[in-house]
């Protein structure tokens, strides 16, 4: 039981501070690098790292990751990049950090438009965790209705009850589309 140890908690706080300092230094370096070479892959990679790191901590040997929302500043970076960020985000979808796929879908939603639909299709694959899949359904609301509605309808009877329910909720409440019970 780690939670009851004040020593471990102190280490946790110290690690967090170090991590914050590291991110700050990295962000500075990244900004210089962007000015020299705004390579979408490296911008996206550093953005993903920056965001995911905020939820990553450890307690002794145990590592912990929780989902922490991107800030408005993070989102403005991806918005500025627009569709040019889609290929690097697509490539990042196969990464192996906790919440990385969820974050990719979250950032795709910020870009929006028809160009993100193929990426969201991939995120809706039944092999993907349902938390990511429901985020992909939600991200479809940022795409044109004629693309989104048929795709969401296709998941209204998904084998995963959470995915099916969220698909139905979106159809009814967002698109005013009746769904068969």
């Amino acid at each position: 039981m780690i939670r009851s140890s004040p020593v471990v908690f102190g280490v946790f706080v110290w690690c967090a501070l170090i991590a914050q300092l590291g991110v700050g230094l990295f962000a500075h370096a990244q900004s210089t690098s962007q000015a020299l070479s705004p390579d979408p892959d490296s911008v996206v990679a550093s953005l993903l790292d920056r965001i995911l790191k905020r939820g990553e901590t450890s307690q002794g040997t145990i590592s912990m990751s929780r989902w922490v929302e991107p800030t408005a500043e993070d989102l403005s970076v991806i918005k500025r990049m627009g569709p040019s960020a889609i290929p690097p985000l697509d490539r990042s979808f196969s990464g192996n950090r906790s919440f990385q796929r969820f974050l990719v879908v979250r950032l795709l939603r910020e870009i929006g438009g028809p160009e993100i639909v193929p990426s969201l299709r991939r995120a809706l694959n039944p092999q993907v965790p349902n938390s990511v899949r429901v985020a992909a359904l939600a991200a479809l609301t940022a795409t044109p209705d004629d693309l989104a509605i048929p795709l969401i309808k296709a998941y209204a009877n998904d084998r995963d009850p959470l995915v099916a329910q969220r698909a139905r909720d979106l159809l009814v409440s967002h698109y005013n589309v009746a769904v068969d019970q």
């Binding site: 939670r3 914050q20 145990i62 929780r66 906790s98 990385q100 965790p129 959470l162 969220r166 409440s173």
Partner: protein, 780 residues
């Protein structure tokens, strides 16, 4: 003109539906709620007779301009036995006729024993409001007699329960114009219970001539002949009044009358008027108008026998308890541009007195009766309904009787003329008189099967328009839109409106009749008052946020089926302006959390009168009509979580964790749901990297029901020793809600305890019953 009948009936409808508009003030507006098109409707009444050579015809008029109706006519024999006739279909704006004598030839054997020579009738159909006007014309072509009557009892009221019962009085007058003439009073009971009816016939001074008490079973009809009722007194009195008392629903007993002298072919149908007027109605100058009285030498174009000469007649009855001084005048179109007014002097009527006006003494060789036609007016200071007047014209043979039902000079909206006919050698005459001292522009639209024909009419002050249908059809003059009435069309109806449409106010007197010169019959046809039948607010309830706005709109539906959105003149108000205000165009703005009412009122708005206007003591009714609904002003206060379901987190390979998808909706300080899309829930979770509150929902805004989801809620753990559990420090998340540009503080906070093998989520800070704790798996 405030008609108590309309107010009471509509109030009852409102009570039936449990609608309680949020109106203030002493005078409560009338509610006109919306009903389903499948609502059973029906009218009952009318008087048919098949004695001698009478041939009764039931006439039905659909007032809806764009909707056909299927109507079931029903005949009731004198003992109340009912006989359903085959359904008839009424085209939009259409008319149809049912020959009752022919229908009686098919009475089933099981009710043959109940067949009588007279009775009442009814119609039933489905629509949102009464949309069919029905009347019966009994014509005896051989004896030159015509008796007309219109249906009056609305089944929604007359078939209602005992709670609708109250004392009613119906008044009318009678006259016996020839030595052989006799009359009869018809009493009908359209209600579902037996009625006891007290009848008093009075002489010209208002003194009782005869009284009768009659018991009427449901849907029974009885006929009291004047000669039997008056006994030996008959002959001494030639005019008088009749008063009928009963207890029951409105029009629980309907009275009609007929006067006939088959030796000369004289017939008339005195109007019996049930009193629905407000007892507190004010005293003012009242003028009754009877337009289109035939006068003097008959118009050769109308093919009357040579030498036919018409004299006007008028019987006046003072219904009130006070003397009435009545000033009469006759307005004739004259030969010039300016109508000529003939002052006929004054008559004084004692309380209860009935008198025949002496036209003869007003005209002589020096001041001859004008030829053609004219409009009779009777003016007095008193209450609406104090004076009853029966008037018309009769030729020297007493065979041609053209009755004209007077009506009060009151502005109205458009009017429906229920029937015109050119069947066989019938013809129809429509007279419109502008009684005002200013010019008016009108449109008379004639409806017939397959089309309509418009006649623009410009009437200078006190000018009139006289339409002979036969002449119009034969003229082959197209209307402004190029329409022609096809030569095979022989019946139809009409609407008289202002040049601006059916809602325009007009100030005219109208008379319409179907006549036959060959057999010397003439029957007046019904005209009704068009107006609102529904007044609704959309939506019918409101929920706005503090500082938020919501647009309301009203819809008023007319009896013709026309719908007007946000009619001009709508005044909006809220019961509490500290909670919500509403602009002059219906924009509701939340001021402070709470509940209030919002209402919309149209002052003095025309309402549909389902009865013929001649059957009403006042003119066309208008009312303050209103619609209202509750308004809730909401202040978002907390996030209520109805459910949390297990979800799969997105943990890296080798990591594990427990996750929830947590559903929330936004609730206000009264624990009511804030059903609004686009609200942005934001969270502040302890992290050394986040700067402040950030949107966190998936998707980031609420849906239309105010709902949102938080996913994934949980933590991934790596390197957890096998067989052990690991938990992170519990932490608290706090929330805001942004509804641009306003940010609301949210009372809710969540406490998370995330472990590798389980988790616990506590939703707190809400009203106690609204807090939740979700636990899954193993927590240490």
């Amino acid at each position: 003109m405030k008609l108590l009948t309309v107010l009471v009936s509509l109030f009852l409808l409102q009570m039936t539906l449990g609608i309680t508009p949020a109106f203030g003030g002493a005078s409560k507006p009338v509610s006109l709620p919306k009903f389903s098109p499948h609502t059973p409707q029906g009218m009952e009444g009318g008087f048919w007779k098949v004695d001698n050579d009478f041939d009764p015809v039931l006439r039905l008029k659909n007032v809806l301009l764009n909707q056909p109706l299927s109507v079931t006519p029903i005949l009731y024999f004198a003992d109340g036995t009912e006989y359903h006739l085959p359904d008839v279909t009424l085209e939009p704006a259409g008319v149809t006729q049912v020959n009752i004598r022919i229908a009686l030839q098919s009475v089933p054997a099981n009710i043959q024993g109940h067949v009588s020579t007279y009775g009442m009738a009814g119609i039933s159909y489905q629509w949102s409001w009464p949309a069919v006007i029905a009347s019966i014309q009994n014509t005896d072509e051989i004896a030159s007699l015509t008796i007309t009557s219109s249906f009056r009892a609305d089944i929604r009221k007359v078939h209602a329960g005992a709670a609708e019962s109250q004392a009613h009085v119906t008044r009318g007058l009678w006259w016996l114009p020839t030595a052989n003439a006799d009359g009869y009073l018809v009493l009908e009971n359209p209600s579902l219970s037996p009625r006891q009816v007290d009848v008093q016939f009075s002489d010209h001074n208002g003194n009782a001539l005869a009284t009768q008490r009659v018991s009427l079973p449901s849907h029974a009809t009885t006929l009291i002949s004047f000669s039997k009722a008056f006994g030996a007194v008959r002959g001494a009195e030639t005019t008088g009044s009749v008063e009928i008392h009963y207890t029951g629903p409105e029009y629980g007993v309907i009275a009609y009358a007929g006067i006939e002298d088959d030796a000369v072919g004289y017939s008339a149908s005195p109007i019996m008027i049930e009193d629905h007027l407000d007892p507190d109605r004010p005293v003012h100058q009242v003028t009754l108008s009877a337009p289109g009285l035939l006068l003097g030498n008959a118009d050769p174009a109308m093919l009357f026998p040579s030498g036919t000469y018409f004299r006007p007649y008028a019987y006046l009855h003072n219904v009130s308890a006070n003397p009435l001084q009545v000033t009469l005048s006759l307005v004739s179109p004259g030969s010039g541009e300016v109508p000529q007014t003939y002052s006929l002097g004054q008559v004084t009527l004692k309380a209860g007195q009935t008198s025949q006006f002496d036209f003869e003494s007003r005209f002589d060789s020096a001041k001859p009766l004008p030829n053609g036609y004219g409009h009779l007016t009777a003016t007095f200071n008193g209450h609406d309904g104090d004076l009853q007047m029966s008037t018309g014209s009769v030729d020297q043979s007493q065979s041609y009787v053209f009755e004209v039902n007077p009506s009060q000079q009151v502005d109205s909206a458009s009017r429906t003329l229920c029937f015109w006919s050119m069947e066989g050698d019938n013809d129809s005459m429509i007279t419109v008189w502008n009684y005002k001292a200013v010019a008016q522009d009108l449109v008379l639209t004639l409806y017939y099967s397959g089309g309509h024909y418009k006649i623009p009419i410009h009437l200078e002050a006190r000018q009139s328009y006289n339409l002979d249908m036969m002449s119009l059809v034969r003229s082959r003059i197209p209307d402004p839109d190029g329409a022609l009435i096809p030569s095979n069309v022989n019946s139809g109806s009409g609407i008289l409106s202002g040049a601006g449409g059916e809602t325009d106010k007009i100030s005219v007197a109208i008379a319409a009749s179907v006549f036959n010169v060959r057999n010397a019959t003439c029957g007046g046809t019904c005209t009704t008052c068009n107006g609102a039948t529904e007044f609704t607010m959309d939506p019918d309830s409101y929920a706005v946020l503090v500082s938020g706005t919501q647009q309301a709109q009203t819809q008023v539906t007319w009896n013709t089926g026309s719908v007007y959105t946000n009619p001009s003149g709508t005044s909006w108000s809220t019961a509490s302006s500290s909670i919500a205000t509403v602009s002059s165009v219906g924009t509701l703005t939340g001021q402070a959390a709470g509940q209030t009412g919002v209402s919309a009122i149209l002052d003095d708005y025309p309402v549909f009168a389902e009865n013929c206007s001649g059957d009403m003591a006042g003119g066309c009714p208008d009312e303050d009509i209103g619609s209202g609904g509750p308004a809730t002003v909401q202040l978002p206060a907390y996030f209520f979580s109805p459910t949390a379901v297990s979800a799969n987190g997105d943990c890296a390979p080798g990591q594990e964790g427990s996750f929830y998808n947590v559903s929330y909706y936004v609730a206000d300080i009264f624990s009511a749901r804030v059903s609004q899309a686009g609200m942005i829930p934001e969270e502040l979770a302890p992290s050394d990297y986040t700067i402040g509150y950030e949107p966190f929902a998936t998707p980031p805004t609420t849906d239309a029901t105010g709902a949102f989801n938080d996913v994934p809620v949980g933590t991934c753990f790596g390197n957890v020793p096998p067989g052990t559990n690991a938990c992170a420090q519990p932490f608290t998340v706090t929330y805001l809600l942004t509804i641009a540009p306003t940010v609301y503080l949210i009372n809710t906070s969540t406490v998370r305890l995330d472990c590798a093998l389980g988790q616990q989520l506590t939703v707190q800070g809400n009203p106690v019953p609204q807090n939740k704790t979700y636990t899954q798996g193993i927590i240490n």
